[in-house]
Symmetry: C2
Subunit: 124 residues, 2 copies
């Protein structure tokens, strides 16, 4: 499983890892802090592994600080995911006929880098 998107999806396909990410969304934390809520249900090496999966998927960044390893969220890959998802938005938008109106509110009036929707329709 080589491509970025697959790696992102795979990393998120685990509730433990999503919970870790959720914690990091509230601020930096080192490994043992992240580990705390899970040590009842799994070992520390298991946590190290989960963090490594998140790191390889670039969803977090681990740095060094004395004997600690502070981790920071990096939601960049989620941005790519969001972009990928845009091609399906119309399928889940509540009423199809509101969609036109919706696009008018979301796409910046006078062009301006584009925000959501109507994304470039790249293949995959």
């Amino acid at each position: 499983m080589h491509d970025h998107l697959s790696q992102t999806f795979a990393a998120l396909a685990d509730p433990t890892r999503r919970a870790m990410l959720a914690q990091l969304s509230k601020g930096e934390a080192n490994v043992s802090q992240i580990a705390k809520p899970f040590l009842k249900s799994m070992s520390l090496p298991a946590i190290t592994k989960h963090l490594k999966v998140l790191e390889k998927a670039s969803l977090i960044t681990k740095t060094k600080e004395a004997q600690w390893r502070p981790c920071k969220i990096n939601a960049e890959p989620l941005k790519d995911m969001a972009q990928w998802m845009e091609q399906y938005r119309m399928f889940w938008e509540e009423s199809f006929d509101r969609l036109g109106e919706y696009l008018k509110t979301v796409v910046p009036k006078k062009n301006k880098k584009r925000k959501l929707a109507k994304a470039s329709r790249s293949k995959e």
Copy 2:
């Protein structure tokens, strides 16, 4: 891996399956039609399996029609994904100070079921 969200993410963590979904986003298709682009690189049973993964994740619905099995996309699970992702939007939005303005354009003025952002902050 029991929860819905994990199943959705896992199903999407494969480029073949994402390509199948992309095809179905352009309209219904039966198994052999879906299979065509992949038969150079994998067997039909492999395709059956991929479709089963998508089906179990509720991303597609398979029905019967004579000897064919037409498949239809069902993006409902992607909606849940999108909702989950909302809690991270602020991390990838380009400039944080434009965010406020952005929310004003996206959240319907006089309440009205909410469209994006500020989603219910559910745990996980």
